[in-house]
């Protein structure tokens, strides 16, 4: 028998994970809905998942590689940009999905109760699908450069750590997304800030340039950005070059987890009564 106690000011910390588990069917349906509905009534349909990352990489290769001539640490520019984008896109997707979860589903939350964390969690899983397609495209080009063009790239065994990097990107994306989602309830400004923030953050992450081009004095400051270590680690794993140290990477993990926990608290606090002020 389920017993519910309704009272004011529920604790910030009381996330009912058991309840979320009970709603797992809803979670999967939401994931599936996010994926299937997005490309309905389009001609190319799921092909867009492939076209988007490819087109971006081509543009980056032309603009930053050919015109601006930014160094890529000796890595072929095409796979260099792609290796950064693959994790960054996943992170940005999670961030976007989580930050819109309260205001974006307000209509739903005003009419029915289910654990509200389901919505941001479902976006983590649906983004995973884009990620896997992105990753396949990247790996295809990577293998092409590795075996056919025969460039000097050096794969390392750290490639096996990729799932952990994905998890780290999800943690940071979700954490920041939950923060923003809680703040958007009160301050709609955040929704204007978000695209801008994502763009700035991308420039603060070694996507279009190698971390080695950051002056050494500033590097420890640079790695305060937990996404910088994720992208740099990924590049190191695939190409064998990079500036990452153990300390900076550990720091990235700790800060990521902290962001997630505080994000959960903020979200939990906001979701209790957000329908009253939305």
């Amino acid at each position: 028998m389920i017993r519910t106690h309704i009272k004011p000011n529920q604790s910030w910390f009381s996330v009912d994970w058991k309840e979320i588990w009970q709603y797992r069917d809803l979670l999967w349906l939401m994931v599936w809905r996010n994926i299937t509905t997005i490309h309905k009534q389009t001609i190319l349909g799921p092909l867009w998942f492939v076209i988007q990352p490819l087109a971006t990489t081509v543009v980056f290769t032309i603009v930053f590689g050919q015109i601006a001539k930014i160094s890529t640490d000796g890595i072929p520019p095409f796979v260099f940009y792609m290796s950064g984008m693959v994790l960054w896109n996943y992170f940005a997707g999670c961030l976007n999905g989580a930050s819109g979860s309260l205001v974006g589903s307000a209509g739903l939350f005003q009419k029915v109760y289910f654990p509200r964390l389901i919505v941001p969690i479902s976006s983590l899983f649906s983004q995973m699908m884009y990620f896997l397609i992105n990753l396949t495209v990247f790996v295809t080009f990577y293998l092409y450069y590795l075996f056919i063009v025969k460039t000097s790239i050096q794969p390392t065994l750290w490639i096996l750590a990729l799932p952990a990097l994905v998890l780290q990107a999800a943690i940071v994306g979700m954490g920041v997304g939950l923060w923003l989602s809680a703040l958007t309830v009160k301050y709609r400004d955040i929704s204007f800030l978000l695209p801008f923030l994502t763009q700035l953050w991308m420039y603060a992450t070694p996507i279009i340039y190698p971390a080695s081009s950051v002056p050494e004095k500033l590097r420890s400051l640079y790695y305060l950005n937990p996404m910088a270590s994720v992208v740099e680690f990924n590049r190191f794993a695939f190409f064998g070059v990079g500036t990452l140290t153990k300390e900076t990477f550990l720091f990235g993990i700790v800060s990521g987890v902290l962001i997630l926990i505080t994000g959960l608290l903020m979200f939990n606090r906001a979701q209790r009564t957000f329908v009253d002020i939305i």
Binding site: M1, I2, P8, R33, L108, Y113, R272
Partner: protein
């Protein structure tokens, strides 16, 4: 454990009107600072903020800006009870359901709920226009708290109930609004929580479908599940609920049987006695007077039996006399008197006007100054065994119009027209039950024992 599945204890919900909470980031920090320092920010913020320059401290949370949508609501609901919640718009009905379904938190007070709660505050919550009917059944069902296995089990029932089999694989954005609503209600109707909270969702769809929904709600209630049901439809409340709560301006004003509560809500401040005196009439009078001075005054309204005794309880087989005493203060060239009988749900079901009767109509075409008494007899064997109300209007067309809505209440006791028959129940919910003639024609093929064939018309 007690038998109570819902216990609400002084539930209250306060909304702040106008500005919402702390508006600026500065306020936010000041608020946090007080919290960290262990002080009550509400008491201190006035001093920090607006009241700083004046002698008096202005409370940030001004009482005038607080709107108590619900205040100190306490009640207990037993397992298997079907309870209606009624009240005017803005009385807090929906807020109460929102608190119980955990959509928002109370400001103070608490509630205990035992059992799985399904809430139905809107039909079609979570329907996605791009998904097909089939997909939306699953989507909507899980949002309402079912799991996939439960939906699988009821899928066919849901589809049959919704009557949209043909369009099951069409995106719902191509549905007509009627189809959409039917499908949505079908999903909701097949929820099987222990406690169901329903908000006025029956007011959708066509009449046929509404009937079907009411029937379904009755089934749910019959299965021993607890239902809280918000509605403006007093007929539905009386029909479905055994008990009802009446909310007024966020307060619980009556918790009683459905009948008593709906009566109170509909404003049946009926004159208690069987006669409405001049005083009662003046107090209850509605209407408009366009002339410069009054023409007509009603003095006394009464319901009488054959012996001219005033009565409140009539047998179905006795005539009911409506007696109206009035005074004409001026001579009136055209006087209309009319009465009608209203049932419990406010529906007028029977009525008559003085000018209908051509034998007497001419008498009313000129009424001199004076005191009069008009009467009209409702023939015996007209009404079923129910409670009724008498409404009266008296008018001098285009000049004066006096309305007395539900001025008297009376009850008809129905014993059945045929005393030899044991009736299944004489309280059939039918307002008009006159004594009518029946006939039967047929052909007999076989007699009772199957012995011989006859061809006799009976």
């Amino acid at each position: 454990m007690t038998n109570h599945v819902i216990i609400a204890d002084r539930l209250s919900k306060c909304y702040r009107l106008g500005v919402i909470g702390r508006q600026t980031l500065k306020d936010e920090f000041i608020y946090l600072w007080h919290k960290v320092m262990g002080r009550n920010p509400i008491e201190h913020m006035g001093k920090v903020g607006v009241g700083q320059h004046s002698d008096t401290t202005i409370s940030v949370e001004d009482d005038n800006n607080d709107f108590w949508a619900l205040k100190d609501i306490s009640f207990k609901i037993n397992r298997g009870e079907v309870v209606g919640i009624i009240g005017r718009n803005g009385s807090g009905k929906s807020t109460l359901l929102k608190l119980l379904s955990r959509i928002t938190e109370p400001t103070s007070g608490e509630a205990f709920i035992e059992g799985r709660v399904g809430s139905l505050l809107e039909v079609g919550t979570g329907f996605h226009p791009e998904l097909t009917g089939r997909e939306n059944i699953y989507m909507n069902g899980t949002i309402l708290g079912m799991n996939k296995a439960e939906i699988d089990k009821r899928f066919d029932e849901i589809v049959a109930f919704s009557e949209v089999e043909q369009f099951l694989d069409t995106p719902v954005k191509r549905y007509s609004s009627g189809m959409f609503v039917r499908l949505a209600f079908a999903v909701a109707a097949h929820l099987e929580p222990e406690i169901l909270l329903v908000d006025e969702v029956l007011a959708v769809g066509d009449v046929e479908f509404q009937k079907k929904c009411l029937g379904k709600m009755k089934d749910v209630a019959g299965q021993g599940r607890t239902v809280l049901f918000v509605s403006h439809n007093m007929g539905a409340i009386n029909n479905l609920c055994s008990r009802a709560l009446l909310l007024e301006k966020g307060r619980l004003v009556l918790d009683s049987t459905a009948e008593e509560t709906t009566d109170k809500y509909l404003g049946y401040q009926v004159v208690e006695s069987a006669v409405a005196t001049e005083e009662d009439i003046n107090e209850r009078m509605e209407g408009k007077i366009l002339g410069d001075f009054p023409y007509i005054r009603l003095k006394r309204i009464a319901l009488l039996d054959k012996e001219n005794n005033t009565k409140k309880l009539f047998d179905a087989d006795e005539p009911i006399q409506v007696s109206l005493e009035f005074e004409c203060l001026q001579s009136v060239p055209d006087l209309r008197l009319l009465f009608y009988i209203v049932d419990k749900n406010d529906t007028p079901i029977y009525g008559s006007q003085n000018t209908d009767d051509t034998d007497i109509a001419s008498k009313f075409s000129y009424i001199a100054k004076g005191v009069y008494k008009a009467a009209c007899v409702i023939p015996p064997n007209t009404f079923g065994g129910r409670q009724f109300y008498l409404s009266v209007q008296i008018l001098y067309p285009k000049v004066e119009h006096i309305i007395l809505n539900k001025i008297l209440q009376f009850v008809v006791k129905f014993k059945g027209h045929n005393q030899q028959i044991q009736y299944g129940g004489n309280d059939r919910p039918i307002n008009i039950w006159p004594l009518l003639k029946w006939s039967l024609h047929g052909k007999v093929f076989d007699d009772f024992m199957g012995l011989k064939k006859k061809d006799v018309t009976i």
